[in-house]
Symmetry: D2
């Protein structure tokens, strides 16, 4: 399989690339924690959430301004206003922000506000968008498509790298299977396999995988145990009131209890790399 | 489930919408046959193919100018030049042409040349593109995403209709399953179910479902038997030389033998609608 | 792949085996129709159903005596009493009967009453049962496992043939996918592919695939169009009262309307074999 | 969903059942480690393996005597001779042994030799075998079917409990998905969800999930992080010579390096249960 990959392929046993996002290093044994609400709703609430998360050890703040929704009648995000809120929160907290872009025509706009641009699961096969992200001067968080094979996911990253942007972070977020008990099935094997095939860092999104709050913490721990370089977790100050994905959001207190456990598991799995 | 659908929902037992493409009516018991090569390669070959297909009874000519490819290093289509070839072939043969659009920024361009614009499987969840197609003045062929549920597929159509374009033709092209013997699994149940839930016409693409030549004819017949209003088949004058998807293309002679059998099956399944 | 198959592999282009069940020939262009209730409930109702079905052209009567149920608290079938009812119905109507066996210890018992023994989807990987069926003196109807690959299905048949019983009829009954709109996804490609790889006849069970009455007829037609040598359909005189799977059972009148359409589609698809 | 479960349902927040296997307790925060070769091959090698594994901290020795194989022409295990070897190894080492049973007629025989009887993935829907296991006087290790939903898996356990045997240990071993990079997709969500729905202990089999040696350790760590009460790992003294599944077997040295890391992760995830 490796012959298909030119730029994403791992070159040697040590060869992991670290992606730098401002002061934050992703990859090479570190554990990056990204968190925030599914969608940006208003400035005050977003700022309060970011301040709390910063205190709990979060490195990157996430929040959606353009939301891809299955129904055209669902809340679609605040758009440019959401980007402005994110930038203001970044300025107030010092936390880099990551947000999704949905349209080739918006890449430049999103890059003006965000520190990392996200290509979501529904757009992993959107090659026009991948190319545009490859021409951007920002790191790219590339989620795995909901039914993308490992090979397709790495080739999607190859599209970005082929345009000259090698700051790509892969993100496993669950795949679609027959099982309906969770929204998606977090594929921890893909985390380990992606890290073995590619030099790019890999993080996990346990929130979209689970689709339900009670499984987010076990899945986050499992992802880190399998080798993930970080996690991205949905946290909302009041999940019951969230405009989007409230049922899978942790409240800040639950999130705070999770963080030290993630570090403990990361220490153990780093031992694996050393031992093997 | 129906409550989620406003514009795509079937309103009454008889209420199927026919979509008109020039002289061709899709839906209401007719059987539309679309055929052509995966990708447009050059004018002479494309024209010769179209002339042969017209003689065999094809109603709409298909050909790709912008090709979505898993690898950035695969042939990506001729782009604007491909569109020009398609338009010239349409002018020479009188056959309406359908071709795929991949980027919101290209919708206007593609509409200038094509009679029907196709949203491919990889972009079914690309809501920005769906909206743009909804604002276009052309019929839209909307393929089902490779792991899209029936509900997500209909809601993707809802995005197009919600922008004011109600000339949408749904296209089942196989879903991703564990089975590797075929490239995808043609979901004939979804054809029957989509027609029962929605007033929109539904066709099938047996070529992408099968991924191998020998199964295209049986799958085309099965799709029509299940209620499809038409089929879209990849035909290449010399499949062994095709720049794209040759292994699943029929040659014109095999295609010619298939057409009358499709009509025979359509007659039988129209009997079902009358009997039930 | 073919090298793995010794006894089930197709030997030459014409080489389809016909399986004889009393006066009924399965394979070689014929269309066999099997129908009956999911579970045998009582003699009078079973006989009345069989008499009606015989009149409509059914060749083999189906009915479950041992029912594999997901929950231990669901109706498990009448067991030996059900077998006795089936045998009495066979004697009264002349229709051969097919019924499922679940336990290696029951194979001899079931063979005493049935004309065809069925290995159900849940037991396709039950190799002990397959071997026992291979030692039986009865034809075997072998359903595809709900997530079995084509290769595993053919190798399950190989288990039966390897014990000396070559009267095996394969039955596609839908596979498990992410789609929840139907109970399973009828894989018509597998019908065509199985017939191409193996000399064994292949039928389809549209009732278990659909899990809902309104899709049974379109799926039955699609299966035959794809090349199935027959169908097995659940028919209950009063689906609303069925002890098992009533929601997917046709009533006799709906079934009667379906039969001639199946024959029409079979004629068309036999033309395909002749033309190709 | 819970209403369907009578005996397997979790009764209260603390209510986990511990299953006792000789001196070994499974459940309630402990971490049980089962290991051994896929198939028992001969006494000397089996004993040597077991002695090494005991030294590394293994609690239960696994080894197959009856092997379910996709092809009838693959090595099928040593049968009764394999059971005798296992019992002799148990006597020599003091390690309880677990081995699979495939046929209702063999349950009594296997119980005579084994400390735990395993129902494998292919037989999870074999209700006759589940009932027979329910009547046995031995603990049952119940693997999840390769495409079984969480609900079906718990209902399979319900079959065992309904016959009076409540010593059931669930085992997640990967599910079948579209991804071919690993043999199966380890579903860590199901581990967490099963423990939340049921009082039964849950372990994981990372070896069958991965199907390749290099992913076994990351998957084992991930399973424990997600809440598994233990793991079952294939270890062979010389994987390249194994008669069965050598490509996914660890050698003893690699296994020895894994064990302390599993304990470290278990400590972290036990913190989760305490914190939440």
């Amino acid at each position: 399989m490796e012959v298909k990959f030119r730029l994403v392929a791992r070159r040697n046993a040590d060869g992991q690339t670290a992606v730098q996002i401002g002061p934050v290093t992703i990859g090479r044994g570190s554990l990056v924690i990204m968190a925030g609400p599914c969608a940006v709703e208003d400035y005050d609430r977003t700022l309060a959430t970011a301040l709390a998360l910063k205190e709990y050890g979060v490195h990157v703040f996430r929040g959606g301004a353009f939301k891809p929704r299955t129904s055209p009648y669902s809340f679609q995000g605040l758009g440019k206003e959401g980007l402005e809120i994110l930038a203001a929160v970044r300025d107030a907290t010092g936390l880099p922000v990551v947000t999704e872009v949905l349209d080739t025509r918006d890449v430049e706009l999103v890059c003006r506000y965000a520190d990392v641009i996200q290509i979501g699961s529904r757009n992993m096969h959107n090659y026009a968008l991948l190319r545009e992200a490859g021409r951007a001067q920002k790191p790219v968080l590339l989620k795995r498509g909901l039914a993308a094979t490992l090979e397709e996911w790495l080739l999607a990253a190859e599209y970005v790298l082929a345009e000259g942007n090698d700051r790509v972070v892969l993100c496993e977020r669950g795949i679609r299977t027959f099982e309906t008990h969770t929204r998606n099935t977090l594929d921890v094997s893909a985390i380990a396999a992606a890290k073995s095939l590619s030099h790019l860092p890999v993080i996990a999104d346990p929130s979209h995988a689970a689709g339900r709050r009670d499984l987010v913490a076990p899945l986050a721990l499992a992802a880190v145990a399998a080798g993930a370089d970080g996690v991205m977790v949905e946290v909302h100050p009041c999940p019951g009131e969230a405009l989007c994905d409230g049922e899978q959001s942790l409240d800040p207190a639950a999130f705070a209890r999770l963080v030290p456990l993630l570090r403990q598991v990361a220490a153990a799995r780093n031992g694996l790399a050393a031992a093997m």
